[in-house]
């Protein structure tokens, strides 16, 4: 797998709400920048509820 393929896969997984479990376990107190955080940020900035995860292309 090339670097750009890994980046694309990582983005796709994050957009589907998946976070690498080992990464969140390692962080003390859990991760701050989670998919839920960005959903809330989107709602705060745009004033619209976060997009349904099924809407994400791919």
């Amino acid at each position: 797998m090339k670097f750009e393929d890994a980046i694309a896969k990582s983005i796709k997984n994050f957009m589907q709400g998946k976070v690498p479990p080992a990464t969140s376990d390692e962080a003390e107190g859990g991760l701050f920048y989670t998919p839920e955080y960005f959903d809330q940020l989107e709602e705060a900035l745009l004033g619209t509820p976060a997009k349904d995860k099924d809407d994400v292309d791919g």
């Binding site: 980046i7 990582s10 957009m15 900035l45 745009l46």
Partner: protein, 186 residues
């Protein structure tokens, strides 16, 4: 005189300075959240934001933009490659949010619509393996052989057409009928 010994000298790696490049040194940021923080902070810079939006407006997808941002940070020694892969998702999500906020249309680039589908037939064609029961459109049609005939060559028998006896006798003027002139000279 050319280089007589083109290969590296054995053990040269032990004497060379491995700290010449930023990516040879330990990365500045090693944790997930500080790394995402770094990119969010970077994206608040109006100049950086303009560049990202300009790329999105010329139909560069978010994956390609994130890819270039991460490579830039790796080359500067800010983050390591494995951490870059981990934070790609949050960085892409943040870019999509600020693009929405600024009404910039974008494509995530994670769709695999353009992916070429692999089918048994396409694999057979790729490897040059075609079975006897291959689909009809892939089997070369055998056409009947055209008779080879040069300009002066003898025509095949079935190609020779001869005039009927009546036609031949009329051409030789051996008919009883008299021809009447049609040009009004009679």
């Amino acid at each position: 005189m050319g280089n007589v010994f083109p290969d590296p000298i054995v053990g040269a790696n032990f004497t060379s300075n491995t700290k010449n490049y930023p990516w040879h040194r330990p990365a500045d940021i090693t944790d997930f959240d500080p790394a995402v923080d770094y990119f969010i902070e970077k994206m608040t810079d109006p100049e950086q934001q303009e560049q990202v939006f300009a790329l999105l407006e010329i139909e560069t997808d978010v994956v390609a933009v994130v890819h270039s941002l991460l490579l830039q940070a790796i080359s500067k020694g800010k983050i390591a490659i494995d951490l870059a892969i981990l934070i790609a998702g949050p960085v892409a999500r943040y870019i999509s949010i600020i693009a929405d906020e600024s009404d910039v249309k974008y494509d995530m680039g994670t769709s695999d619509d353009n992916r070429r589908r692999v089918t048994p037939t396409s694999l057979k064609v790729a490897f040059g393996i075609l079975e006897d029961d291959a689909p009809a459109e892939l089997v070369e049609e055998v056409m009947p052989e055209e008779p080879e005939m040069g300009l002066m060559g003898a025509q095949p028998e079935d190609a020779v057409t001869s005039a009927s006896p009546d036609e031949q006798s009329s051409m030789l003027g051996m008919t009883d009928e008299e021809e009447e002139p049609t040009d009004g000279l009679a």
